[in-house]
Subunit: 337 residues, 2 copies
C-alpha cells in the first residue's frame, strides 16, 4: 500500500522528457506539440496521475478552499447555509472546510488560526454567542484573507455581511399580531450580545411603539436560543401570574419550548395565548397548532454569502469594505396566532 503517489517526474522519466514539459502538456500549454500532449495525457491516465494541489497552492500562494465556521452543524439553519455555500464553492472548484465553534469563542479563535495556517482563500463566519471581541477576525484581515459574516455578525470588524432583515421581520410579525387583535404581547428575547437578539428585540419594541402599545404591552424575558430557554421563559412568565395574550419568541426552537410548556400548563394556543417564532425551522410546521414564524431562506443565504466571498477573493481591493447584503424575510402565518 501507499506506493508513493505519481508525480510529473514519474511521467517524464517514462517518456524520456523533462518534467516541466510534462507539466506544461498536462495544462494544455500552447508550447507543447499535440503529439507530446497526447502521449503525456495517456500515460498520466494509465498511471493514475492526480496533480498535487498542495504543491500548486504552495506555488501560487493561494488555496482553492473556503473556510466556514458555524456554531453547530446539526442545526437546520446552519446546515442549510453550509449546503448553499458548498453548492457555490463546487461550481467554482473550491473546497469547503467546515468548522463548528459550539458557541465557544476560544474554539472559534482556534479554528480561525488553523484556517489562516491552511491559507484558505476566504472565510465565512456566523459568530459564536460568547464572542465579544473581534480580535480573532482582525487577524484574518491582517493576513489579507477575505471575510464575510452571515446571520450573526461582529460589528466592530470590517467585513462583508449577509444578514437577514431581523429588525423588519420581527416588526412585521409583531404588527401581524397587533392586527389580529393581540394587545399584551411578550417577547422571549435572545442574548443581548448577539446582533440577531438585539435586532429582533428592536423590531418588537418599534412595532409596539408604532401602534402606541409601548406603555402597557412591552414585556421582555431574556434567555438563550434553545428549546429549554423557551420552557424556562414560559415558566417565569407563568410564575408572575399575569399571562400575555401573545408571545413572540426570538427563534423557533425557543418558540417550541414556549409552545410545549403552554400546552403543558393546560392552556390552548392560540385561544388563550398566541405563539410566534422566527426562522421557519422545518419542525415548526409540524407542531400542533403549526407555528406562525418568519422565513429566512438559509440555503439562499449560504449561496449569497459564498458568492460575496468569492467576489472578494477575485477582486481583493475592488470591494467596498463593509458591503452588506440584507436578505428579506417573509412572514409565514399559521394557526398558532
Amino acid at each position: 500500500m501507499a506506493a508513493r503517489q505519481v508525480t510529473v517526474k514519474d511521467i517524464a522519466r517514462k517518456l524520456r522528457l523533462h518534467y516541466t514539459t510534462v507539466s506544461k502538456a498536462l495544462r494544455d500549454h500552447p508550447d507543447i506539440s499535440p503529439a507530446t500532449k497526447r502521449r503525456v495525457l495517456s500515460l498520466a491516465r494509465e498511471l493514475d496521475y492526480h496533480p498535487n494541489s498542495i504543491a500548486k497552492s504552495l506555488k501560487n500562494q493561494a488555496s482553492s478552499t473556503l473556510g466556514v465556521i458555524v456554531p453547530s452543524i446539526k442545526n437546520d439553519f446552519f446546515s442549510a447555509v453550509i449546503s448553499g455555500v458548498e453548492e457555490i464553492a463546487y461550481g467554482r472548484e473550491f473546497n469547503t472546510v467546515v468548522c463548528q465553534s459550539n458557541e465557544s469563542s476560544e474554539r472559534e479563535a482556534i479554528h480561525l488560526r488553523t484556517l489562516i495556517s491552511n491559507r484558505v482563500g476566504g472565510v465565512l463566519v456566523s459568530v459564536a454567542q460568547t464572542t465579544t471581541s473581534g480580535a480573532g477576525f482582525q487577524a484574518l484581515r491582517r493576513q489579507g484573507i477575505p471575510l464575510v459574516f452571515f446571520d450573526r455578525v461582529c460589528e466592530d470588524v470590517e467585513a462583508g455581511r449577509v444578514v437577514v432583515d431581523d429588525y423588519g421581520g420581527a416588526m412585521r410579525l409583531v404588527e401581524h399580531l397587533i392586527q389580529r387583535g393581540y394587545r399584551n404581547i411578550a417577547h422571549v428575547a435572545g442574548p443581548e450580545n448577539t446582533s440577531i437578539g438585539r435586532d429582533r428585540c428592536r423590531g418588537y419594541l418599534d412595532a409596539l411603539k408604532k401602534h402606541g402599545l409601548n406603555g402597557t404591552g412591552a414585556s421582555i424575558i431574556r434567555g438563550g436560543f434553545e428549546e429549554e430557554d423557551g420552557v424556562a421563559a414560559l415558566r417565569r412568565i407563568h410564575a408572575r401570574g399575569r399571562m400575555p395574550d401573545a408571545i413572540f419568541a426570538v427563534n423557533d426552537p425557543v418558540a417550541r419550548g414556549v409552545h410545549a410548556e403552554i400546552r403543558q400548563i393546560g392552556l390552548e394556543i392560540p385561544r388563550d395565548v398566541a405563539v410566534a417564532g422566527f426562522g421557519d425551522n422545518r419542525l415548526s410546521s409540524y407542531l400542533d397548532p403549526p407555528l406562525t414564524t418568519v422565513s429566512q431562506s438559509p440555503y439562499e443565504i449560504g449561496k449569497i454569502a459564498a458568492a460575496m466571498l468569492l467576489r472578494r477573493i477575485d477582486h481583493p481591493s475592488h470591494e467596498p469594505v463593509c458591503e452588506t447584503e440584507v436578505i428579506q424575510t417573509h412572514l409565514i402565518v399559521r394557526r398558532s396566532t
Copy 2:
C-alpha cells in the same frame, strides 16, 4: 492589503539567525537555547506569524485533513454525522472538508478526485443513490488513502464500514407491529441499489416469515427516499383498493409522506392504518400522531466513523481491510402504531 504573509525567513532576517534555526525554535526543538527560543517566539507573535501548513503538508506528504462526502448536507441525519466527525477531527487537529454529491455519482467522483488531489489524510463517504460502480473508490485505495463508508456502503470496495443495523432494526420494528396485532403490513421500500434499502427490506421480509405471515401479508412498494415518494406510494396503495393495516416506510421522510397522505384521504392513524418509519428525524416526534420509528444515533455514527478513519490513518496496514462496525438501533414506539 495582502502584505505577503510572514515566514520563518522574515523572522530569521530580523533576528540575524538562519531560518532553520527559527523553524526549530518555533517547534521547541531541544537543539535550540532557551534564550533564542524566547526571542524567536516573541518576534513571531509580534509579526503575527502563522506557520504555513500547506508547506508542511507538502513536506510531510500528508495533510491533516479528512474528506467527507454525503448526499446532502441539509438533512438531519447527515448534518448530525458531520457534526460528530468534526468533533473528533477537531480533537486530533484535523480539518474536515465537506462535499455533497446530491445523490449524483459523477459529482461524487469529481469530489473524490479533488480530495485525492488535495492529498487528504482519509475519506468518509455515504454513497450516492446513483452510484453503482466502485471505480471511484478504488482510485482512493490505489493512492493509499484510507477510506471508511458510513450508513450507505459500496459493497465491492474494501474499506472500513460503519453501518447501522438496518436489518435488525427493521426486523424488530416489524415484529413490534406484529405483536400489536397488525397482520397485513406493507413496506414502502427504498431503491434496490442502496444497501439500506435492501437491508431494511430483508428485515421486513424475515420478520414476516418468522411469524408465518410471508404468504399473505407481504406487499412491497418501491420508491425513493423523499417525502414525495411516500405520498406517491400511498396513492398507489390506495388505488389498489385494498388498504393494509400497517405501513412500514423505509425512512422517516417517506413515512411522513405516507402519514400526510393517509390523513389526506380521511383515514385515521393508527386506528385505520398504522405507520412506522426508520431513522428518527427530529420532525417525527412532532407529527400528529407522533411517529413510531427506529433511532440511529447519527452523531455517534459520525464520531465512530471518524475514529475508525483516524485509526487507519495512524496505522496504514495494521487495520483489517474490511473492518465493519455495526451500530445498534433502538425502537422508539410512539402513537402512530
